[in-house]
């Protein structure tokens, strides 16, 4: 479904993504686990083609097509979408209209269902605006609901758990699992090893490079033991690089 091959990206002479390679299978939840500043969000931007991020090397291949020359819209029309870590607020755009944007001709029941799946009561949210009257957590959940409504082939979720209260988090995670069951692939970006445990596989990101990929429990445990205590975050030693 998604192949990232030797991806490189730098800014102001500093390497941010460093020969990164990974693949995501159809229906797979692939966790990207890393500390702050390791390049997780930049990776998301490079795959989606937003924020003026263009690779300086390597390829992003989606369904056997190099998507380097595709616009954000074209990538979305191919079935890729992104839920931002801090989603934009759009004044005057109602939640019900935001969820219908993807062009799936969703009926109101389906729109409501997407809101229920992220723990929001439709009656309270459908006619609110996607603006700064929403709390950070509400906006994040609506972002996820809009991804659910889009039914993408690949959903890139950038820290979907940040700003979410502990009561709502299981709902969010269930929503992600449900998305996968419906056939969507998910690139689940997080720094929370508990969240990464819903993934089928997890890759550890350090200094813009995947240093380890494996099953969630073991990889998360390794992350906890090594990355959480690492004294040289984002400056991997030769030992780290050789892992």
């Amino acid at each position: 479904m998604l192949e990232v091959e030797n991806l490189q990206y730098g800014l102001n002479g500093k390497s941010i993504i460093n020969n990164l390679s990974l693949h995501v299978d159809k229906g797979e939840i692939h966790g990207i686990l890393g500390e702050n500043g390791t390049g997780k969000t930049t990776l998301a931007y490079l795959i989606m083609g937003v924020n003026n991020c263009e690779p300086t090397g390597g390829r992003v291949v989606f369904e056997d097509q190099d998507i380097a020359d595709l616009s954000v819209s074209q990538r979305a029309k191919k079935g890729i979408t992104l839920a931002w870590q801090e989603p934009a607020r759009i004044e005057g755009l109602r939640v019900r209209d935001y969820l219908k944007l993807s062009g799936n001709n969703l009926g109101i029941e389906q729109v409501e269902n997407c809101l229920w799946m992220v723990g929001l009561e439709p009656a309270q949210y459908l006619d609110r605006d996607v603006d700064d009257t929403l709390s950070g957590g509400e906006r994040k959940r609506i972002e996820l609901a809009s991804v659910l409504a889009m039914r993408p082939k690949l959903a890139i979720l950038d820290e979907p758990d940040s700003g979410i209260d502990i009561i709502s988090l299981p709902l969010i995670l269930n929503g992600i699992v449900e998305m996968s069951k419906r056939g969507s692939s998910v690139l689940l970006i997080t720094h929370n090893e508990k969240v990464a445990e819903i993934a089928h596989r997890v890759s550890l990101l350090c200094a813009g490079k995947i240093i380890r990929t494996g099953e969630p429990a073991g990889t998360s445990q390794w992350f906890k033991e090594h990355c959480r205590t690492c004294p040289h975050i984002n400056e991997p030693t030769e030992w780290d690089k050789g892992l």
């Binding site: 819209s73 979305a76 979408t81 934009a88 759009i90 809009s146």
Partner: protein, 318 residues
């Protein structure tokens, strides 16, 4: 009930009103207060119990008066329709509104100039809202695409104690031409004034919006909210002034102007002043191009760039 009809003109204007999104049945209904004016002629005026509505032509001016009687709660909005259907014309309106103590009313006003090539529309309003009264005035303009219109609405609004005043001015359909909007509000104790203006400038439109609120009474509150979108060579200057002159007065000026074109020019001048140590007045103004993150958020759902911009513009002007 007063009911004047000039059949053909009336029908044409009412049809234009309906095309512009107005509720035609409200104008035709005998139990809804309404006023229909074509250029400098009063075509109909309908009063209902508790609402006195009179209008006449006076030396080229439309002189109109609206009075809501004390304690009267008007259940249906009062409809005003001001139009000029020919390509050229002059419409000058003097409007006096009195909302008596404890009364409540909403006005929906439509100003319709679908064929304008050279039209001047001037309104001078004096609005008095007495103690504990509530008055909402929503004015929507429908202009043609030529833009040869000069729109000059001016108003002095006085609010009694605990009075509520909401004014919404919307000019987002068609080309504006030239807009010179000038409102001044005087707020007594515990009264609340909310002014909202939404304007979409295109081609060579020139927009000037001046809104001034004087918070003169203890605990008076106000919000001046302006949303402007500019394309092509349109220019806008928005001046929002609020004066906190009494204890616990609270005011806020909120202006957003989006510029979507290399030649459009936007300017915002908020002025906040406090003459009482217990008053507080704040402002925020944002001028700039359409936020890239917003555009990309919508593009990531499959909209192309133009569609995304359109959604953002419609949202801010909704």
């Amino acid at each position: 009930m007063i009911h004047y009809l000039v059949e053909k003109e009336y029908q044409e204007l009412v049809d234009a009103y309906e095309k512009a999104g107005g509720d035609k049945s409200a104008l035709l209904s005998g139990d809804t207060a309404s006023l229909v004016v074509q250029e400098d002629r009063v075509l109909s005026a309908t009063e209902i119990e508790g609402v006195k509505l009179a209008a006449k032509t006076d030396e080229g001016f439309i002189s109109a008066g609206l009075l809501i009687e004390e304690g009267c709660k008007v259940s249906r909005p009062i409809h005003l329709c001001f139009g000029v259907l020919p390509q050229e014309g002059l419409q000058r309106i003097k409007l006096r509104v009195d909302v008596k103590r404890g009364a409540e009313a909403k006005v929906i006003a439509h100003c319709i100039f679908p064929n304008a090539v050279h039209i001047i529309h001037k309104m001078d309003a004096v609005i008095n809202i007495e103690d504990n009264a509530s008055f909402s005035y929503k004015e929507t303009h429908y202009h043609g695409d030529y833009g040869g219109i000069e729109v000059v609405p001016k108003a002095k609004v006085t609010l009694g104690e605990r009075a509520l005043y909401e004014n919404t001015f919307s000019l987002v359909e068609g080309c504006i031409g030239k807009l010179d909007f000038d409102y001044e509000i005087f707020c007594a104790a515990k009264s609340v004034a909310e002014l909202t203006a939404k304007v979409y400038g295109k081609k060579d439109d020139i927009i000037r919006i001046f809104e001034k609120v004087n918070l003169n009474g203890n605990g008076a509150r106000s919000l001046i909210k302006t949303r402007i979108v500019l394309t092509d060579r349109a220019g806008a200057e928005v001046i929002g002034e609020t004066y906190g002159n009494a204890p616990y007065a609270r005011g806020h000026v909120d202006c957003t102007e989006l510029v979507n074109g290399e030649e459009a020019v936007a300017k915002a001048i908020p002025l906040v002043s406090v003459t009482n140590e217990k008053a507080k007045v704040t402002h925020e103004a944002a001028i700039g191009s359409i936020d890239r993150r917003q555009v990309e958020t919508l593009m990531a759902r499959g909209l192309d760039e133009n569609e995304a911009v359109d959604v953002i513009v419609k949202g801010i002007l909704r």
